[in-house]
Amino acid sequence: MTLAEQIREIAAGYPQSRSAVLPALRLAQEQHGWLSPDALREVADALDLTPAYCQSVASFYDMFHMKPVGRHLVEVCTNISCALVGAQQVLEAFESELGVKTGETTADGEVTLRALECAGGCGWGTVVAIDHRYREPVRAEDVPTIVSELHDA
């Protein structure tokens, strides 16, 4: 099935097709890696919306990438519960292991490192999401192993 066909199938499950914008954008992002102008146009055409509308919606939500990102996404929760138990040390360990600052992508385009607002694993902090799969709790000393697993993946 083409992306447009998949989107139309999702849209059929809602009373109004515009409700399918978020799932459609997610699907387009999965296929394109980020929400490029082409990806936005495909979503817009499939749902009979404008690319500008799709961009205005996508830019509201943190999980949509309006710029290219690495093949893997490492997100470290730094909200208060995780921060109280050492999230900053975990984040700095990732910075040093990956050789990037928070918000950046490694030079080989493999890994993007981000700080994340409360991931909802507060009792098991620090929460780290690797490609949206949670690891909890993560301590700074666990980071080298996680990074080497990422390089092998």
Binding site: G13, P15, L22, Y61, Q88, C118, C122, G123, W124, R133
Partner: protein, 441 residues
């Protein structure tokens, strides 16, 4: 022990993600019972139980359901929406419910749909909750294949990363395929909600409690906990500087002290308790002296705080309250949707002022300015996000004013770089493309 599993009942012994196992503990019997009742009788049981919203607003679910107009009065579809967009900092209970007892949530959805004669249920699940999405999706498929839906459609809809979409009207906007910005009310969702039709919207934990209310009957349920206002149990999410963090389902009215020190094992490394946030980062803080407060609505209100989402964040004596305020304010600044000026600008000003205080660049008047910014946000926006930023910050200043003063008098943070939240990177620091308005002189 005050631990009492109603929502999580059976989940310690069996894999209740499987339909057969869930039936083995009496699952879906409440649905049969409810479907044998008139919808109005189901709502009556909810009213009698005084089951209050577990998302944070504590509004009685039965009253909300009773506001839904009858089909003969409003000839439109009636929608049930489940708020599974759990994102209040400190809160991770809905996640555990979805992961461990998804069928109890689904049973609650189907009973709720029957209670307002609805044929359409939407579960709006937080986008980050991928594993939980997969578990609920599998449980929905199982229940659908067993013919439990009886004509009702259930759509599992994923969010995409926006705290504000936990606010009910923003959630509805998002579900309609728009930016998640709150609506002005009235009209309330019961009158004009999803697609401008009558909509009953409730939190995951609330809906997952409904089968137990029907099983026991409202009157029996209302005897549990701390009646009349705080009936039943809640899942408390315990986190921060505490030995055994996690979710604990307790009868309402359990003492905060017991949760932290008996159940949670106290503060690690021989540290001292400094403060507790009893209901998620949006609520006013309690000092160590107030830790005897029962976990129930009236007692918390008397102490000037709230049970909120049931997220208890424990803070030990290594924490600088200015840094805590800064990190909390940075969160709300990041998550403000930008629609209402007091919230959009006020949260930025709060961050700037707290930075100045932490760095020792502030004058004493700026502490008053900070409180005045809080005051000018409170109650002046379309939704409670601005309040959620202003209330905690104002409480940190009022309860720890000396600590704020020491920063100003001493020209910097008295913790000298050793505080637990020192230098923590907030996601808002990653976004440099937004023009930032300066605090007026």
């Amino acid at each position: 022990m005050p631990e009492l599993a109603l929502v999580l009942e059976g989940a310690d012994d069996r894999d209740l993600t499987k339909l057969g196992e869930y039936r083995g503990v009496g699952g879906y019997r409440a649905l049969d019972k409810a479907r044998g009742m008139e919808p109005e009788a189901v709502v009556e049981e909810l009213l009698t139980s005084n089951l209050r919203g577990r998302g944070g607003a504590f509004f009685p679910m039965g009253r909300k359901a009773s506001f839904i107009p009858k089909p003969e009065d409003v000839p439109k579809p009636r929608y049930v929406v489940v708020n599974a967009d759990e994102s209040e900092p400190g809160t991770f209970k809905d996640r555990e419910i979805m992961f461990r007892v998804p069928h109890r949530l689904i049973e609650g959805c189907l009973i709720t749909a029957h209670s307002i004669r609805s044929q359409n249920v939407f579960i709006y699940i937080r986008g980050e909750y991928l594993a939980e999405f997969e578990v609920v999706r599998a449980a929905l498929d199982e229940a659908r294949d067993e013919g439990l839906f009886a004509g009702v459609t259930v759509v599992l809809h994923r969010g995409a990363g926006a705290y504000i979409c936990g606010e009910e009207s923003a959630l509805l906007e998002s579900l309609e395929g728009k930016r998640g910005q709150p609506r002005s009310r009235p009209p309330y969702p019961a009158v004009s909600g999803l697609y401008a039709a009558p909509t009953l919207i409730n939190n995951v934990e609330t809906v997952s409690t409904v089968p137990k209310v029907i099983e026991l009957g409202g009157a029996e349920y209302a005897k549990i906990g701390a009646p009349p206002n705080s009936t039943g149990t809640r899942l408390f999410s315990l986190s921060g500087n505490v030995a055994r963090g996690g979710n604990y389902e307790l009868e309402l009215g359990t003492s905060l002290n017991d949760l932290i020190f008996e159940i949670g094992g106290g503060i690690p490394e021989g540290r001292k308790l400094k403060a507790v946030i009893p209901g998620g980062s949006s609520v006013p803080v309690l000092t160590a002296d107030e830790v005897d407060t029962p976990l129930e609505h009236d007692a918390m209100t008397e102490r000037g705080s709230m049970l909120g989402s049931g997220a208890v964040i424990v803070i030990d004596d290594r924490c600088c309250m200015v840094q805590l305020g800064l990190r909390v304010a940075q969160f709300y600044m990041h998550e403000s949707c930008g629609k209402c000026t007091p919230c959009r600008e006020g949260t930025r000003w709060m961050v700037q002022l707290l930075h100045k205080i932490e760095d020792g660049r502030a004058e004493h008047e700026e502490l008053d300015l900070l409180l005045s910014v809080c005051d000018r946000i409170l109650g002046k926006c379309l939704c409670p996000l601005g309040d959620a930023a202003a209330m905690p910050i104002a409480s940190y200043v009022s309860k720890f004013r000396d600590e704020f003063r020491v920063h100003i008098d001493g020209g910097g943070c008295p913790f000298g770089g050793e505080a637990s939240l020192e230098g923590v990177m907030a996601p808002v620091d990653q976004h440099t493309h937004h023009p930032v308005a300066e605090v007026p002189a």
